[in-house]
């Protein structure tokens, strides 16, 4: 990202909403987050513990100012969200950086975004190591296998 003052359009609603939670707008947008979660198709991390009920919102574009506390002080951003059928279809975050320090932190906050990562075959990458989640002990793995076996009966 070369120009940090430009608005960024984040097409991935999931990424944007998670980021928004960090800028203190969760209260305002909690309903949207619930809607988005309902849309989420489980890729291995779903849980039955969610108690969010079905809600409905009018289609359209909503805009709100939000603030968050950074090491450089209180910062503000304008967030614009487009809703269609209770799903967030577009999010734009415009930072209002007031001093160079804050601008730096908001730039770091924005980071870079991949709407969808693509897996490549590790064998094709010529790497020395792979960084993934810890391999687990046999005790843990055995117990999981046992539970799966019990559940299948």
């Amino acid at each position: 990202m070369t120009d940090r003052s430009m608005p960024r359009t984040l097409r991935s609603s999931r990424t944007a909403l998670v980021s928004l939670a960090g800028v203190g707008l969760l209260g305002t947008l909690a309903g949207c987050a619930g809607g988005a979660e309902a849309e989420e198709s489980g890729t291995g991390s779903s849980t039955g513990a969610d108690s969010a009920g079905a809600r409905s919102y009018a289609d359209g574009t909503y805009e709100a100012d939000g603030s968050y506390r950074s090491p450089g002080g209180q910062q503000t951003v304008t967030v614009s969200i487009t809703l269609a059928d209770d799903t967030v279809t577009a999010v734009t975050v415009t930072p209002h950086a007031t001093d160079p320090n804050a601008k730096q932190f908001q730039g770091q906050f924005a980071g870079a975004i991949a709407d969808q990562v693509v897996g490549r075959d590790i064998d094709s990458l010529n790497v020395s190591r792979v960084a993934g989640s810890s391999l687990t002990s046999s005790g843990f793995n055995d117990a999981v296998e046992q539970i799966k076996a019990d559940a299948a009966e």
Partner: protein, 287 residues
Amino acid sequence: MPPSERRFSAIGAPWRIDTEEPLDDAGFERVLALVEEFDRAYSRFRDDSLVARLARDGGTVDFPEDAEPMFALYAALYRATDGALTPLVGASLEQLGYDPAYRLTPRWPALPSPAWDDRLRVEGSRVTAAEPVLLDVGAAGKGALVDLVSAELRAVGVGGATVDASGDLLHTAPEPLRVALEHPYDSSLAIGVVEVSGAICASAANRRAWADGLHHVLDGRTGLPVREVAATWVLSETALEADGLATALFLTDPERLLGDFDFRWVRMFTDGSADYSDDLPGEVFAA
């Protein structure tokens, strides 16, 4: 290929140490003794550990002196995540079934972790708890041990080394190490590749998962597993810091941490999207 490679299993994970100079048996014994001492202090899976004593009796426990930076990191990350990352998550994990007996059957409702200020006083490496309390150093403990092992290798005269504890790695040899970022849903794939000098730690919810939606990365405020984030990677100077920050990125956004810590990061969400540092020394593969 470095001339010396040692493999062993410790604190529930496979380890591999590569050194530029051969690591002789005496040096390797010292490393293994260090690892055993760490396990005896912090494991919540053995009943003779200091953690087990604190859970049984409460009171004051003196952890090894090198615990101080780890406890200091926990305090900083507890503040930065508003209590979501906490060493008091042990009881919440056990409630969900991740206990020494590997019960792996949750009890409901989930149990939020107790507040630090109510339960725990930490002065350096000394921990005092008025009531019995179960600590869990899973968020940063392995990284801390990787740093200790690396320092021990220097002490026995084999400086340039790669200490790989499976998910937590510290590389001190001069040439950077090329490391793949393992796809959290398919271990034959990578979602990116980075050049590492120093530490890289990965955290993912996939392997220590035991039932529908249940895995080991919990939000201490709810006692429930984190759902939005699938995996994180942090590059930093020390494995302790990289390990703790990788867990913290499940629970807060990077900008809450960048003021206090110097690190590069990648975060992948459960919907398949990702965000990462502008200045990542590497690449994330995107559509």
